[in-house]
């Protein structure tokens, strides 16, 4: 590949890496153009190396002065596992952003936002994208309540950081190993029905299935709910349509119209189905990664090199 040579191998330097729990890690990455104008709610796309796929990730924090952004990643398949192997001092081949629309809370009239009682619901990794929004509100004198839910104690992330910027912080685990016990939807019910809380707006971010059930819950109490959709993406600029969703009776591209939408209108079942499109192939890719070199030897016997 003669035409790649002059490109430095490290283009977007990883300045800091921190493992938050065995399957979730945080990275601070040098990306001055992204850091310059990004806002809470937006995302970026990274590529690990020349053969890497384009992986969309939420911008969890940014430092305009230092020209860095923070991402928090959960290892799901081959690419995110490969990403976890990267260390400080190494870098990404590509980082592009900010993409998508900033959160409405950031762009709406601040006085109106101040009059609202806001509840954030973060499921698992969703804590990471919720954090910059809560932090932004805090910096603007608004303290929002936050529910953070995780399967078990070890998977609770960013607790300390969140505690500093949230109004009330409610932590819950599915297995009851930490904080309250049960799903985030149960906490919503408890807060509204038993603890006399009133909310004018809910922002739910997490796995699609969790967002779907959050919306079913908040509907009962007539709390308008915003969700952040993470469908399969390729370019992230509106060019491919892979990220299309049905929202109300319209087709929307998550990468340009979103990623945040009115949760009452999103067709979650369709979206969850579309996510599974490449499951078999991605499973094979993961297997290949795990079995590593043993399956790339090209011995010709097993057909693993075909």
């Amino acid at each position: 590949m003669p035409f790649k040579q002059e490109v430095p191998s490290v283009m977007y330097l990883i300045k800091k890496k921190k493992v938050l729990c065995p399957s979730i890690f945080l990275m601070e990455v040098e990306a001055p153009r992204v850091a310059q104008y990004c806002e809470p709610g937006q995302f970026l796309i990274v590529r690990i190396d020349e053969n890497g796929e384009r992986i969309p990730l939420t911008i969890c924090d940014y430092d305009r002065e230092a020209g860095t952004i923070t991402i928090v990643v959960q290892t799901i398949g081959a690419s995110t596992k490969r990403m976890m192997d990267l260390e400080e001092g190494q870098g990404f081949h590509d980082v592009v952003g900010p993409l998508g629309q900033p959160s409405e809370l950031v762009t709406d009239d601040i006085e109106e936002v101040k009059n609202k009682k806001i509840l954030f619901v973060a499921g698992g990794l969703g804590t990471a994208p919720v954090y910059p929004q809560v932090k932004w509100l805090h910096e603007h004198g608004i303290d929002a309540d936050v529910i953070v839910g995780a399967k078990t104690k070890d998977l609770v992330i960013l607790e300390e950081e969140m505690g500093k910027v949230a109004g009330n912080l409610y932590i819950t685990t599915d297995d009851g190993s930490y904080g309250r016990s049960g799903m985030v939807t149960k906490v919503i019910e408890d807060l509204v029905e038993n603890e006399g809380k009133k909310y004018d707006l809910c922002v739910a971010i997490g796995p699609m299935i969790m967002m779907k059930f959050c919306v079913l819950t908040t509907k009962k109490y007539d709390i308008p709910t915003i969700v952040s959709m993470n469908p399969i993406m390729v370019d992230g600029t509106g060019m491919c349509g892979a990220c299309r969703l049905t929202v109300g009776d319209e087709i929307k591209f998550a990468c340009i119209d979103g990623p945040e939408f009115d949760g009452y209108k999103v067709n979650f079942d369709e979206a969850m189905g579309r996510m599974r499109l490449y499951q078999t192939q991605e499973g094979e890719a993961l297997l290949a990664l795990q079995e590593g070199k043993t399956h790339h030897g090209g011995c010709g016997n097993c057909g693993g090199d075909k």
Binding site: M1, F3, V96, T237, M239
Partner: protein
């Protein structure tokens, strides 16, 4: 070899049954001997009609005569006086409706193979390391170019030759525009042809900054106010895919051609070592009849699918280049003409299982001058398929227009720009290529890039 006659020298191609299973280039190109013999068929006309058929008015008899005389360097020089991407245009121009359509030889026999000769000269120059002529003393003025497709590359190259300090901003991680993400390897090899053309432009001193989405990472106004760019050229193409808005279109297995081609071309999904997956159905239906539809269908075929093109008009109206239709047929792609999908059928998991279609007939001519297809009552039938690729056309992405103060667009979201110099409604901002015309051709985009380079030079000199 036979004396120059009425028939063109045939060109060698990979056999259909072989190429249907690989992504190597279909056309193998002329040998020197073949090229010289074909060149000798050109009559070196005093009033060359071919030139008027070429949107950038290449001196066709000039480069062909030099080729005939085996002065390959001179031939390349003549070509590059008017075109900065000859190896690309020689491969993908719709020659049969442009230069070759006008060639006098075409009246009694075959037109001269202008495109194939152009390709030969450009390929040879690349292999021999011949560079474009440059005479650039830096003039200290900065110009930004948005998009690295044919329009952007040409505009940047021409400005660099005039001494401007040019930076191209490209949203994707690789330069080339449609040449890189859209047109497949088997028609336009990326490492062999596209990368060197991009490199040529860089060798003129042009900087290419990838991974910058103008309108998101930074706006045009910010480029001009904060980064010292005196003028901007917008060559952002027409990348927004259209869908049919029929039931079932969000099912698993329905793709835009852009997505399918991007996965395969830009992301190299056909290669074993690429992390990007691509959907491989046993049966694939492609809706549409243009170059994009042919490219998507021939890609699906190469990935192992039994592939059918579904097009609502008849063979005569297929907008794709004749050569591509021919190649597609030879490779075994089926055509369901005068057919239009009305619904995509799915199983209970929302996977595509088929397409409900209707047969069409041609009625009165419509606004485009082509006869309008009308549905034949009661002709509904089901076409079995596991995937549907929509290749219905594209429109410009509104991202730039919506984030640039004072930039006028028309009702198709195309940027309004004058034809002569690409001037837009905003001072210092020029535009050209698909972003202005809607989806068109490589050579037209290139021509627009050239025109805008002149316009920008004039604008900055008179400022």
């Amino acid at each position: 070899m036979a004396a120059p006659g009425f028939e063109r020298v045939p060109i060698s191609e990979q056999a259909p049954e072989v190429r249907a299973k690989n992504f190597e280039e279909v056309c193998l190109g002329y040998t020197e001997e073949e090229a010289v013999v074909e060149a000798a068929r050109c009559l070196n006309c005093k009033n060359p009609r071919c030139v008027s058929g070429c949107p950038v008015n290449i001196n066709i008899p000039g480069f062909i005569t030099a080729l005939k005389d085996k002065d390959f360097k001179r031939s390349y020089e003549i070509l590059t006086e008017s075109s900065s991407l000859p190896a690309v245009c020689g491969r993908v121009c719709p020659q049969e409706t442009q230069c070759e359509a006008q060639c006098i030889r075409g009246i009694k026999g075959d037109a001269v193979s202008i495109g194939k000769l152009e390709r030969y000269v450009a390929d040879r120059a690349r292999e021999e390391g011949t560079k474009m002529k440059v005479e650039c003393a830096p003039n200290g003025h900065k110009v930004a170019v948005i998009g690295s497709g044919p329009a952007g590359l040409t505009c940047a190259g021409d400005l660099a030759k005039l001494g401007y300090e040019v930076t191209i901003f490209e949203a994707l991680h690789e330069a080339g525009g449609v040449l890189t993400y859209g047109i497949p390897e088997f028609r336009l090899p990326k490492e062999k042809v596209v990368a060197p053309e991009v490199e040529n432009v860089k060798s003129l001193g042009v900087k290419i900054e990838t991974n910058v989405v103008i309108g998101k990472s930074v706006t045009i106004d910010e480029l001009m106010e904060n980064e010292g760019f005196e003028a901007v050229f917008i060559g952002s193409g027409a990348g927004l895919p259209m869908f049919m808005k029929i039931p079932g279109e969000n099912a698993k297995g329905v793709f835009s051609a852009n997505e399918y081609l991007t996965r395969n071309n830009l992301m190299k999904a056909f290669r074993e070592n690429s992390d990007t997956p691509i959907f491989k159905g046993a049966k694939v239906a492609v809706v549409g009849g243009g170059n994009v539809a042919m490219d998507a269908a021939r890609t699906a075929l190469r990935l192992g699918a039994d592939t059918t093109i579904v097009y609502r008009r008849s063979a005569a109206e297929l907008p794709a280049r004749a050569e591509e239709v021919e190649h597609a047929k030879e490779e075994g792609i089926k055509f369901e003409l005068l057919t239009n999908p009305v619904e995509i059928l799915t199983d209970d998991q929302n996977n595509v299982t088929g397409m409900k279609c209707v047969r069409m007939e041609l009625g009165e001519p419509d606004a485009s001058g082509r006869r309008r297809p009308v549905v034949i009552e009661g002709s509904e039938f089901e076409l079995e398929t596991n995937a549907v690729i929509m290749a219905l056309g594209t429109s410009p992405n509104p991202l730039i227009a919506s984030t640039t103060k004072g930039l006028e667009t028309n009702k198709w979201k195309c940027i309004v720009a004058d034809e002569k110099f690409g001037k837009t409604s905003k001072e210092g901002v020029f535009a050209g290529g698909d972003a202005v015309t809607g989806a068109a051709t490589v050579i037209l985009a290139m021509g627009a890039g050239k025109a805008a380079a002149k316009g920008i030079d004039e604008y900055i000199r008179n400022k």
